[in-house]
């Protein structure tokens, strides 16, 4: 039994890596534009399906799909920005509805192009078991956990050191002041969407490489990313990683101890608990929601 729980913890941590990437993209855009991109999960799913196409048509490893996914998903993210930036009245409500509409468009486009079938990778290299003591993991899970950590490190460096990263943080903390300091807010917001697109593209390919995908998955991914940001509190990369790992572990434990059908309820339970007990998130400083 303890072996099973240990295994669930391990799988949960591995799953947390790509969850964190999805949540960081959502949080980054929310930070700069105060807009929750409800189509974010669909962007991730789009990358996953590009991974499928590259594997099934070209016969390459899904990992090789990342450049293609980057191009397509960043273009799609730029389109989302194009729509959201045009909204002038009731920005908060209307941007939600508009990105919800984009989510509907993407879900149905995916349905049309790739049909409703459930897909998963056929790469033996990615699915091969890697044994570490009593713990089993798929090689794909380990590879993409490493990729996730590297990306998070790169994101941290970018936000802390690069000009655009600092511009993103400046716009997030005070848009008007940032504009007065000569930072173009529009372009900075576009950059935050593009970076979110990069994160979504990698997370999507990871999703396809280690699990099953279907067109209806997008909404659940957005909800998961949101639960993580509630758990973590917006603003810190390690916080998001911890929140994501917590969600992954909660899901894996539910699958092990109860039933796989209740997997999504685990995240929800965690979310409600935090909502009731710690409204500022686990690692959040004092901040307002919305």
């Amino acid at each position: 039994m303890s072996d099973l729980i240990l295994q669930a913890l391990y799988s949960g941590v591995l799953a947390g890596g790509s969850y964190a990437l999805i949540a960081l993209g959502l949080a980054l855009v929310f930070g700069t534009m105060r807009v929750i991109n409800l189509a974010h999960g669909e962007l991730v799913l789009l990358a996953a399906y590009i991974g499928y196409t590259v594997e099934s048509r070209l016969g390459w490893s899904p990992v090789a799909a990342i450049p293609f996914a980057l191009v397509v998903v960043c273009a799609a993210a730029a389109c989302v920005y194009g729509v959201v930036s045009r909204i002038r009245v009731d920005r908060e409500i209307n941007s939600l509805i508009a990105t919800f509409g984009i989510g509907v468009i993407l879900t149905n486009a995916i349905l049309l192009v790739w049909s409703a079938d459930v897909r998963s990778t056929s790469s033996a290299w990615l699915q091969e078991a890697v044994v570490m003591g009593p713990l089993y993991g798929m090689r794909g899970e380990l590879v993409f956990f490493g990729v996730s950590l590297a990306l998070m490190g790169a994101l941290w460096w970018w936000l802390a050191k690069s000009w655009y990263g600092r511009a993103v943080r400046a716009v997030a903390s005070n848009r008007d002041a940032a504009q007065l300091m000569g930072i173009p807010p529009g372009r900075t917001e576009l950059v935050s969407f593009l970076v979110a697109g990069v994160l979504a593209a990698c997370a999507g390919v990871a999703l396809y490489s280690v699990g099953v995908i279907q067109p209806a998955l997008g909404g659940a991914l957005t909800v998961k990313a949101f639960i993580i940001t509630v758990l973590a509190g917006v603003g810190s990369i390690p916080g998001v990683l911890l929140g994501a790992v917590l969600l992954g572990v909660a899901e894996a434990l539910t699958v092990t101890l109860a039933s796989s059908a209740l997997q999504e309820l685990a995240g929800m339970g965690l979310f409600l608990l935090v909502l009731f007990v710690l409204p500022n998130g686990l690692f959040g400083a004092v901040r307002r929601r919305g």
Partner: protein
């Protein structure tokens, strides 16, 4: 609104539509379904307009309302009209569970309620002892025959859903005109200022959520009896959110007539035009319509059309 038109409009809806179209079962079924969407769109718009909250979780209320009524009538033997009301009560109970999300604002609220909708669908699928699980509930009793009129038929059901929608529109108008409506509109401008004046904003928002849930639940219950079958994927389908939102935005969600007219136009367009263009992914066009409306005319088409006439209408 121009009150003089109301009696004529009601007469046309109650007598004109059944007389002219009543013989065509297909057209009547389209209109029934459009009114179901219209009822949900109205409830959604009430929450959005008066409560200032965007919900992506109304499919939860549709599903819970449908399941509550279907199970209470099919298994406990309650009469169907009572089931419709209890469907609304069931949705209110679901909304009470959601009340903690009122602590959240804007996007956080919208996503939290979306998450709730996921929970309810999982519950309906997994709680097999009560709901019958993924196989669904069959043999949901149809709407009854009263005084020789078969309310289970396409035309009879039309009268039922039309009455439900009209009553809801009337309630909406009364709430909007009351001093609660005034307080809610004031909250839309500044919630803090309204609280300072002694308005219990959380209580008012909760009331709007419960009212909207009740309306949606009744419509969901009606639909369950009208269709005669329920399964989790249908009862909690994303379509119950997408179509009403598109309808409400299309018609103008800050008006009362907008969501209803929007529902009729959008649903008929969807079924008669979009579905023939793209059979499996026709919601794609709905999504595009939604985005286009938000970008180019976020207040909807109805205010756009009536804007020119506002001066001579004397409002």
């Amino acid at each position: 609104m121009r009150r003089a038109y109301f009696p004529a409009l009601l007469l046309a809806a109650y007598a004109g539509v059944p007389l002219v179209l009543g013989g065509n079962a297909y057209v009547m079924s389209l209109i029934d379904a459009a009114l179901v969407i219209g009822g949900i769109a109205l409830a959604w718009a009430l929450l959005g307009n008066l409560g200032g909250m965007v919900s992506f979780g109304h499919s939860a209320f549709v599903g819970v309302g449908g399941y509550a009524s279907a199970l209470l009538t099919a298994k406990a033997g309650l009469p169907v009209p009572a089931g419709l009301l209890l469907g609304g009560v069931g949705a209110v109970l679901a909304a009470i569970v959601m009340l903690p999300v009122l602590r959240l604002r804007g996007p956080y609220f919208a996503l939290a309620i979306l998450a709730y909708a996921h929970i309810f669908r999982i519950l309906a699928t997994e709680w097999t002892a009560v709901t019958g699980g993924a196989a669904g509930v069959s043999g949901v009793p149809p709407l009854p025959v009263i005084a020789g009129i078969d309310f289970g038929g396409k035309t009879g059901a039309y009268f039922v859903i039309l009455t439900i929608v009209c009553v809801f529109a009337w309630i909406y108008a009364r709430v909007s005109a009351s001093h609660y409506g005034l307080a809610l509109r004031a909250m839309h401008d500044s919630e803090d200022a309204t609280q300072v004046l002694g308005v219990n904003s959380t209580l008012l928002k909760a009331a709007m959520l419960l009212l909207s849930a009740f309306m949606t639940g009744v419509v969901g219950a009606f639909n369950a009896h009208y269709i005669g079958f329920l399964e989790p994927d249908y009862a909690f389908a994303g379509l119950w959110v997408t179509l009403p939102i598109v309808a409400a935005i299309f018609g103008g969600y800050r008006t009362i007539a907008g969501p209803l007219l929007g529902a009729v136009v959008v649903y008929l367009l969807d079924q008669l035009v979009f579905k023939t263009l793209i059979s499996s992914g026709h919601q794609l066009i709905l999504g595009a319509l939604l985005v286009a409306m938000i970008v180019f005319s976020p207040r909807g088409l109805l205010p756009l059309l009536t804007r020119g006439r506002k001066s001579d209408a004397g409002t």
